[in-house]
Structure formats: C-alpha cells, structure tokens
Amino acid sequence: MGISSYLDDTVHVTSLDWFINWSRKSSMWPLGFGLACCALEMIATFVSRFDTSRFGMEVVRPSPRQADLMIVAGTASKKMLPAILRIYEQMAEPRWVVAMGACACTGGIYKNYAVVQGIDRHLPVDVYIPGCPPRPEALIDGLLQLHARVMKESGGQRAKLKSVKAVAR
C-alpha cells in the first residue's frame, strides 16, 4: 500500500545496507596474487570451465589499489610475509581476505622453520578453504560464502579489524 503501490514496481524500495552490500558483493575484484600450488587451481577457476565472471569477479587486478579481495592462494613463507602484509595495506577499504588451501589456513604439510603457520596470524581472514589444493568448486563455494557474509554487514562499513602493520625491509 502507500508509496509502493503508487510507484507500481518501477522503483524498488530496500534498505541502504542491503543495497551497498549487494553492489559490493556483485562486483568484487580479486587481486591477481598467487603464491604457490593453489594459484594454479585459482587460475583454473577464473578461466573458462568454472568462470568466476558468473559472480562478477572476472576482473583480476594486478594492482592492490584496484582490488577488494585478496585470495591468499598457497604457502606464505616467512620471507614473503612482509610483502604480503604490504600488499594488504595498499588495498583500499572495504577489503576481504580468503585463505585458500591448507598452507594458507594452517601451514599445511609444511610445519617447519620457513613457513608461516597460518596467514590468520597476521591478516584478518574472512573465509578459510581447506584442501591441498582445493578444487575449483571449493574455491567457488568459499567465494559464495564470502558473498553471504558481505550481505550481513551493516552501516556501510566493516567492523573494525585488528590493525595490521607491515615492517619495511
């Protein structure tokens, strides 16, 4: 009744939160950022057979300034970690992190001196995808879960995350 019947389906009424979240999740640009084995499955996901452009994610940006989503695909070595943090810092808010594969989640089979035992020690991870390496279907499922999570955010901005500080080398 009221205004909606008067407008007669030419205009949709919704909350601002829903609209902002919907536009964010519908064109989330991932950072083209592969670390190890999982990067190959990530590339396989982006191209023809699995095709993430179905979810508005085909624009893989090499520059962190233009990206919203960091898929940590592979093993984060201790030598690489400062660079990863620096790339994360250069991404503009709002930004999301997906830990893809056992190594990014927990260090995986590399429980040793050279590998960071889980990227969540240093980055705020939104979605964890297990597997060594995860199948493209698993990655797509993780991305869809991230979309669902984005739809639950409110106030047009993300909850305050713990601050991340990179160390210049």
């Binding site: 429980k111 040793n112 050279a114 020690r121």
Partner: protein, 171 residues
C-alpha cells in the same frame, strides 16, 4: 667409461694421498677427495679428454653430526660428450676457532654459483673464492643454518621469526 674405469683413472692420476676413500653402492661410486685438493681434482675431471665432465649437476652437502669430520661436500658430475656420471665428495670439519671451508669451483663450472650459495647458507660452509657470497634462499637477517642436524625442523622464534624484528629505536 663406466664407474670403475673413472675410479681407476683418478687413482692413477692422484694416488692415495689425495683420494682418501671410496664407496660403491648400487653401481654408483663415490670417491672421497682430500679437501685441500678439490680444485685440481675437479679441474682434471673437467679437462681430461676421456673424462670430460663438462656438466655439474649439483653441489650439495650432508651433515654427519655428531661424528667427525662433520660435513661432506658433494659434487655430482655429468659428461654430455661421454654420457657418464660420477660423484666425488670432500670431508670438511668445523672447529670452534675455524669455520668449515672449502675451495669454490665456480671458475670451473659457473653453475656452481647458486648451488654453493645455497649450501653455504644451509650448512654454514664457506666456499673460498666464491665471487658473490650472499644469501640465496633465506631472509637476509637470519643467522641460522637450517639443514644442520642440530637445527630443529620447526625452527624457533628467536632464530626464525615470522617477521623481521624491528631495529631498536635510538640505539
């Protein structure tokens, strides 16, 4: 040439004061060469027309801790002209006053450059005369040698921290 002929030729050329030992396992001979004579032996292996080891597969090391001498430095060779392989090693020890050291073979086989840099940082062996003795794989500020047997596989926060420690301010 087969493994035995190469072995005999080396014994004939250098004798027992240079070639300290031999080991035959599954048709592969490993000769132990005196550490101070590694450069002339390698030169002979490369330049002798019958041996002609023009290709160095790798330089590596094995830590025999706690037995002495502690390290074996390995040279795995291949000859493209003759299609044969051979392996020599040298025993290198480390004392409190003197670090483990051996002559570099980069001048003979340029490919030894990165192999020696890797072996140096992983085991703490110095390759004398190496043209570019920087670290290769490990972060610059680490001082540990991970492939030594007394280094634990998981490392520790002191020697292998996730992030490089900040330099103390004002000091």
């Amino acid at each position: 040439m087969n493994q035995q002929e190469i072995r005999d030729k080396l014994f004939e050329q250098f004798g027992e004061e240079v070639i300290k030992g031999e080991d035959l396992f599954r048709d592969q001979v490993t000769l132990t060469v005196d550490r101070s004579r590694i450069a002339p032996v390698c030169r002979f292996l490369k330049e002798d027309p019958e041996l002609a080891f023009d290709f160095l597969s790798f330089v590596g090391a094995v830590d025999r801790y706690p037995s002495r001498p502690r390290f074996e430095v390995l040279y795995q060779l291949y000859s493209l002209q003759r299609n044969h392989r051979f392996r020599i090693k040298a025993l290198v020890d480390e004392t409190d006053s003197e670090p483990a050291a051996i002559d570099s073979v980069v001048s003979l086989w340029p490919t030894a450059d990165w192999h020696e840099r890797e072996t140096a940082e992983m085991f703490g062996i110095t390759f004398k005369g190496h043209p570019d003795p920087r670290k290769l794989l490990l972060p610059e500020e680490w001082t540990c040698h991970p492939l030594r047997k007394d280094f634990h596989v998981e490392g520790n926060d002191e020697e292998t921290p996730d992030l490089p420690r900040k330099v103390e301010q004002g000091s």
